[in-house]
């Protein structure tokens, strides 16, 4: 099928869009691999998800998020299945905001990262509470959680804080890196995902 004319919410995927999914999941993996190799103090495992949302919109971005976690669950740790929803939301939010122009400059991109981080934390919190009474497995976040619960704060607040301190900086860095790479993409790739293209007659 050709590149069917699609809007922001179309569920009819072009071949190019479907082929983007494995590539984006691969980018997530390799990004994480380089972070570990360079011993950077970051998490940054969703660059591919964010890039694919910027390129091909929220639905593809969300699919990349889900496929990423399913594959990660199959190949590394089953716990990752639980967070498939969070990953999907990251793709969704980035895709919508990118479409609305929030990647036109570096400042806006940072705001986008902040919002994505906040929403990711919001989605993760109920998951963390229902599956493991609120912790995240991140040492710094969990230390904060322990301190806050010991202080008598409600569980949901402690758990949310636990997620926020991890997710917000991480997603800001992720979106920043993705933005820097996105700016360098060639026209050849960009036009492939430009769904407004039509055949013109000469």
């Amino acid at each position: 099928m050709r590149m069917v004319r699609t809007g922001l919410w179309s569920f009819r995927f072009s071949t190019a869009a479907l082929v983007l999914i494995p590539a984006a999941v691969g980018i997530n993996y390799i990004g994480k691999l380089f972070v570990e190799l360079l011993k950077l103090p970051l998490w940054v495992d969703s660059i591919g998800t964010v890039l694919s949302s910027m390129l091909a919109g929220p639905i593809i971005g969300a699919l990349v998020g889900i496929v990423n976690n399913v594959i990660y669950g199959f190949t590394t740790s089953p716990v990752s299945f639980v967070y498939a929803i969070t990953s999907a939301v990251i793709g969704l939010v980035t895709g919508i905001m990118a479409y609305k122009g929030w990647i036109s400059n570096i400042g806006k991109a940072l705001v986008l990262g902040f919002v994505v981080g906040l929403i990711a934390a919001t989605v993760s919190t109920p998951l963390n509470i229902s599956f493991w009474e609120g912790t995240t497995g991140n040492v710094w976040g969990d230390a904060l959680f322990a301190w806050m619960t010991a202080q008598g704060n409600p569980l949901w607040l402690a758990s949310f804080a636990d997620s926020v301190v991890v997710d917000v900086p991480d997603k800001m860095v992720t979106v920043l890196i993705s933005f820097l790479i996105f700016r360098n993409l060639p026209e050849k790739v960009l036009t492939m995902y430009d769904t407004k293209q039509e055949i013109e007659r000469l």
Binding site: V19, G26, I27, E133, V139, L155, I181, M192
Partner: protein, 257 residues
Amino acid sequence: MRNMTLYVHPENGSPIHRMDPLTKMLYVFTSVAISYLLPSHLLVSLVLAVSILLLVDGKVFRSILPIIGVSFVLLASILVVQGFFHPDRATVLWEIGPFTLYKEGFSIAFLILLRVLNMVCAFGVLILTTKPDELVETLVQKGLSPRFGYVLLSVLQIIPQMMTLTGKIMDAQRARGLEMEGSLWVRVKSFIPLLGPVVLRSLAETRERSIALEVRGFNSTGKRTRLHELPLYPYGVAAKALLAAILLTVIVWRIWS
């Protein structure tokens, strides 16, 4: 690098290997769901015991240990945070220096621990004994879009290919004077020169791969066929019915009691 899945194939296979992947998927769902529905340590332990038993029966018990290891930080964190800091602190269980382990917190932590362990083991039953292509094939023949089935399988083929790129890219950038070791700033600066080529290359490649797929009728709208016939799975329906019945019973029991 070639094979990134956790699938283990013991000699001669095992009864679990020969089970319908869908039954195994339903098992994972049922097992995880009831472990969270059941409130007592004993009952959750029983659920966990079933998962472990299936792993042993599938001759893959050993392979689950490293997977549990990956979740170790999460498990340890639950134990520490809940055990020491859970708001319901009454009964002292243990005192280690200035810290006190409370029975209430520990009891909750232990229950979560059992549930998480069961989650890992139940998924292990599916992951360790099911070939991914068999799973996807089954799902496609049960109605998953073949185009989406393609996506799932190609991830497994393409990631190892992308991994082999990393060495080449590091060589190429070092040849142009890129330093990858040293201060944090030096390492941060080298991140985009390393990741950039992977991204550009794989995105440029999506163009060629799309062409290759179009040429081979990936987008045809007619009815598709599959080369491989699925094996007949014995007792598939019975097993699924049993699992569904168990899940239903637990739900009903939880609502009534």
